[in-house]
Subunit: 751 residues, 2 copies
């Protein structure tokens, strides 16, 4: 046989993929260009090498590389020079941000016995970097304020608002106390915020073994889960207010940017907060008294969980160096041949809390290999139609600093040029998942149908669907089976898509693999190369799959005749959200009536155990009926215009062949404008940095999304007037969106 | 003031109770007799003394008093002589039963390290009797077979059938292995039965701290919950087949009864089974490997729970003395004045596994005080219309021996005379709860509305309703609020009502208080006077409330013009059961279709983690549509006849005044026959001892009830032909019941 093996395999692969994919539509492409695009993807796939990812991860995780560290600077240089070597026009953009690091950390129990918290993660056998303790940032929560406080402990479960309702029901107040919360249930920054709102003096956050320790699986180094000394670092900046450098809201943190004084930075905590391991939490929790904690609050420590307050009391003293530090984003561009002014932006952060093999390097090295593959194609003569921009963000961990400052700095240019932002972060073995603008749902589904899962050899879409079906309830299952596309999630916060989507209105997505890479190394010194290579993605096979997926996404977005956005799934999804906020009002009305009835009828008092007494909650003002008709009418308008657009599109396409270039360009502009239209100049009530009226991180969920956030959060906060106002604002946004879609229909009919 | 205080209080109480109760109907009484009955109840209440209960409990729990022990014999004498002293015609009835006790108990881990189980409950400070270790039965499961076995361990969660499905999904077979199950989830006797059905060699049952240890609350002696060495003794007789002496099914275990050979006693286990503490379980469970147990299986030990098999292996050697032992029931009668041939039977067992303060003495001493109070009334000149029979059962713990043998011995007499059986067992602080024949639901509710909760001073009915409302789902809550009566549960097994209700068809009920007496002393040596007096019911105030409740029940049943049974609630409840079995078939049909579809579509394989692989379940034969029309028609007939009876009753009563004596007697007989009518001669498939077609303990739930058991269990077991047959049988029973109700209507119209 004279055909060399790799080429033969390539030919076979191409044939089989084309056979399977031939019938698959490829949004934004006519059939001829779809064929050549698929041929390009086969070449792209063939260039991907797991070993590169492994080598880069090993190198990039060989030293701690948090903001301001030597490791961070070295990694930035390495990444930038690699991008240059692959043919990208690469530069490093630097900002200067507030980045506090610990000077003093004391946590000691003073009553009923003494215990001084260890606050350190010791080296473990078989984990090479865990011995490099000198270069590690110690366990701390970034943007905690300084504080020297003492008081009795109160256990507050996850420390979210409803946990304080449970405490109140037991007559427990945290005023003047120090709360101890467990990680989980909401983003960590919510915990000190809510604790402070309730008058607590300090906040301890510990990792309960139930949530990511031995309850879940064997602990490191035997297994992947958090061991007794493992802690979780992390930011507690009040990101739901605004992310990025605390001192430069709304503007890029360039060298000479106007900065607000630190005491005006409302995103810093108002009480000191410290993360600890469960080895350090156990003596504290064991020494607590008061009522036994509600069943759902109890973790996996071998103790009876009590709420307190006391008798355990602690002293906590935190001091930070409030330094300014440089952050450096690597920006690498591959200019588009026909539409250089339309940018497809692809990003993943590179900074970590410690060694960061899983978070973020697993996603970063996959993106790098993807970029190298794209570079190989370019070196072979191919050029993207649109400009591709790869970004390796710095300072994501403290608060999306690198992406936010870049977005704020280049807001005007991005408003004109940014077509789609594609984000990833840590990734690993398991199932494909995606979140994003619902105009991208159809497109993402098409890609996921053409990427093969390395474990089961069906498409990653089919595998994700199987898992969803198996874990769904009866009605959900029916929906999953009957709907052509898998639903993508809506985006809240927690990674670098937030400024693109929620501050500028750029259609965005976040993709990754996971679910079989479980473990408890998150934000600990044990998130190391050794850990990842054993548990995260042995052999880096899912790293390759991620590169195949994101590579297709980037290539198709860059090459499509018309941007592959779609209004159908978006409009259907908005219909669901409108239904949800209406149901929210109805459900709250019913539960308020129920609460008030129980207060009147003394149900709480009568059913309580006098030895574990209850303080009946207060009755609440009834939930009014809202005029949702503006929202309903706007939705109906959007549905009508979406339908007409679909008809015009099908009509226009039925003759086959590409759209006229002029129409395609106009449609591209319209698709780009569409997401911008979903924003308002005023932004959300009380947090004007967030201007998107469909997606926002929740004020009290943090990472967790709130859709139609203005309306939803006003109802949840029982601000009836604001809710009514927000209905009108959201309706206005949807009316404008509908009008834009109408313009699209006209464009299609005109051609 | 010359009126002595107690008398004044009595007068006040009487006035206030009469005011509150005056408007309350009293089933079975005309208004004049209701008034005098309430006056009797006030006198009865006034006679009750908490101190008596305390003193008796202290005495009766001062020594271990299991079957065959010196303590048991002494307690029987004491109880009998007390009943005699209160004026009852009292005798002790003795039976001879098979009662094995341990000769040898060895449990040792042989791999990967050695550990020999302690199998003992040490004395604890502040618990007087815990030091009396010599007289205690050690930790064992009664009616375990002998066995010397060795093998690898498999963790089977609660050890119920669906747990083995989970293991199969992970490719784990227990054949030739020793299973370790945790207590809970079903009656303990189910665990070795199901393990043996799956080929296991032996069965260990341990008390996980999640279920009644530190996860729930502080452990003994600091708190009420099970400490690390606390174990749970208990019977593993296959009671769902038949209870009572294993050697004398169907007949009383009198001295010369014909006994079956031991190897024909199908209620003994076929593999050895041993209960252990979590101190003994921890080394075994810690040493296990294999897949991590499903999340719901994980207990509160500070380990990762693995399923096995192995590498931990154990050797288990159990030998028992298979002795015959005497059991002695105390039977105390107070002859009825007008209807001596109608018996109101009231029972509570007195035997315990060790000291048994909570189980059963809390219920027993309350029943004794109640009986003393009734005796005081009798000494004052009052006589019940019907005969009252108090029973202090022996041998309940090994398998309802005392009640079952008595019922089997006196079956013919009881069939003629027994009107209602009223059972109690351990009781404590908290909420009123009741289960029983639904012909008694209305009556029980009437009583519960007239007993005052000592903690909240509302009726125990109102308090129970408040608790139900607070813990119910939305739809349930609506039902609870809108229905006049609280629902009573249906009875499965687990106490002495079983032979009365399910073997003879005698209308029965089981009542008690609890829910605030939580703890983990059940069947351990720590179920002591000290434990109960601190946590079970300090001050014995609920003991008094229980006596007030059961006392009213007994007095009203004994004194009513007509037995206070009612067909309305019964018929409505049967309607629910019929709906449930029809829904069961539909749900199983749907889940079978779903399963088969997932098997076809390889959903299990596709969604499984290759590193934690799944063996897809086999597809199952589809669930046919059943002809439920016989059951529906019988129900409709019952509904019609119940409605007509209600009309006739109201019509007959509207003139006021008592029913003619002859009608009343005929109705009494009819009410007594009604529950008998719900039985069949053949009994349930495969277990002819159980003849009730509405209520039975589940074959695989043990204590847990199955209503319409013939139909329900046939469907659950996928025996389609049997299900269809059982529909006809159940329908026949309901048709006969409807005919009986029609006869009642005729009686009422004739008068």
């Amino acid at each position: 046989m004279s055909v060399p093996r790799p080429a033969m395999i390539l030919a076979f692969l191409f044939a089989s993929i084309c056979l399977r994919a031939a019938a698959q539509p490829m949004a934004g492409f006519d059939s001829a260009r779809a064929l050549s695009e698929r041929s390009l993807e086969v070449k792209f796939d063939a260039s991907l090498k797991a070993d590169n990812m492994r080598d880069w991860m090993k190198q990039l995780s060989s030293h701690a590389h948090h903001v301001g560290s030597k490791g961070d600077a070295e990694n930035v240089s390495m990444i930038a020079s690699l991008f240059r070597s692959w043919g990208y026009d690469t530069h490093v953009e630097e900002f200067t941000v507030l980045f506090p690091t610990p000077k003093l950390r004391v946590l000691e129990m003073t009553r009923p016995t003494s215990y001084r918290a260890v606050l350190a993660e010791p080296p473990v056998p078989g984990d090479t970097t865990s011995g490099q303790t000198a270069e590690q940032l110690p366990l701390y929560n970034c943007y905690s304020c300084d504080g020297d406080v003492a008081g009795e402990l109160v256990y507050v479960n996850y420390g979210v608002p409803k946990d304080y309702e449970e405490l109140a029901l037991r007559g427990i107040d945290v005023k003047g106390k120090i709360v101890i919360a467990r990680y989980g249930g909401a983003w960590r920054g919510i915990k000190p915020k809510v604790a402070a709102e309730h008058g607590a003096l300090g906040c301890i956050i510990y990792s309960d073994p139930r949530d990511d320790g031995y309850f879940r699986g064997d602990v490191y180094p035997e297994g992947a889960y958090r061991n007794r000394f493992g802690g979780q670092r992390g930011s507690v900046e009040d990101m739901p207010l605004y992310p990025g450098d605390p001192l430069t809201p709304f503007v890029g943190a360039t060298k000479n940017a106007k900065r607000i004084p630190m005491n005006e930075a409302r995103v810093l905590t108002t009480i000191p907060v410290l993360p600890i391991s469960y080895a350090d939490a156990l003596p504290l929790l064991s020494a607590m008294g008061g009522p036994v904690a509600p069943e759902e609050w109890r973790g996996a420590l071998p103790i009876t969980y009590h709420c307190g307050p006391g008798p355990a009391a602690v002293h906590m003293n935190l001091e930070f160096s409030w330094d300014m530090a440089p952050i450096r984003d690597v920006i690498a561009m591959l200019k588009g041949s026909s539409e250089p002014g339309e940018w497809i932006i692809r990003g993943n952060h590179q900074d970590a809390w410690v060694f960061g093999a899983g978070d973020p390097l697993s996603g970063l090295v996959s993106m790098m290999e993807e970029a190298r593959g794209v570079g190989v194609l370019a070196a072979g003569g191919w050029r993207p139609e649109r400009t591709i921009v790869y970004c390796a963000w710095d300072g994501e961990e403290p608060g999306l600093l690198g992406s936010t400052e870049w977005v704020e700095t280049h807001a005007d240019e991005l408003a004109g040029k940014a077509a789609v932002y594609v984000n990833s972060d840590g990734t690993g073995r398991g199932f494909f998942s995606a979140g994003g603008s619902h105009t991208l749902e159809l497109f993402i589904n098409q890609v996921a149908r053409e990427v093969t899962d390395p474990e089961t050899h069906v498409s990653v879409s089919e595998r994700a669907r199987a898992a969803q079906i198996l874990h769904a309830s009866g009605t959900e299952r029916k929906g999953i089976r009957e709907r052509a596309d898998l639903r993508i999630g809506a985006l809240g916060s927690g990674s670098d898509y937030s400024p693109f989507l929620q501050h500028l209105g750029i259609a965005s997505m976040n993709i990754g693999y996971g679910g079989e890479d479980g473990g408890g190394s998150y934000h600990s010194a044990y998130d190391s190369f050794d850990h990842y290579a054993r548990f995260g993605d042995p052999g880096f096979v899912y790293g390759v799959t991620e590169a195949q997926t994101a590579g297709r996404i980037v290539l198709r977005l860059a090459d499509a005749n018309v941007l592959p956005l779609d209004f159908g799934d978006f409009t259907e999804t908005i219909g669901r959200y409108v239904g949800e906020v209406m149901k929210l009002a109805d459900d709250m009305r019913e539960s308020t009536e129920e609460l008030n009835r129980n207060v009147r009828e003394k149900t709480f008092e009568l059913s309580a155990d006098p030895k574990d007494p209850r303080v009946a909650p207060k009755s609440e003002d009834p939930v009014p009926y809202f005029d949702f008709s503006p929202l309903q009418n706007a939705l109906a308008a959007l549905e009508r215009s979406t339908h007409r657009f679909g008809e015009a599109w099908m009509g226009g396409r039925s003759g086959g062949g590409p759209l006229p270039a002029e129409t395609a360009r106009a449609l591209d502009r319209l698709f780009m404008d569409f997401e911008r239209t979903l924003t308002t100049k005023e932004g959300l009530p009380g947090r004007p940095w967030y201007v998107h009226e469909i997606y926002a991180p929740g004020r009290y969920t943090g990472y967790g999304v709130k859709t139609l956030p203005g309306v939803r959060e006003a109802i949840e906060a029982r601000k009836w007037k604001e809710a009514a106002d927000q209905v009108v604002i959201a309706a206005g946004v949807l009316e404008r969106a509908a009008a834009l879609v109408e313009r699209g229909t006209s464009l299609l009919k005109k051609k």
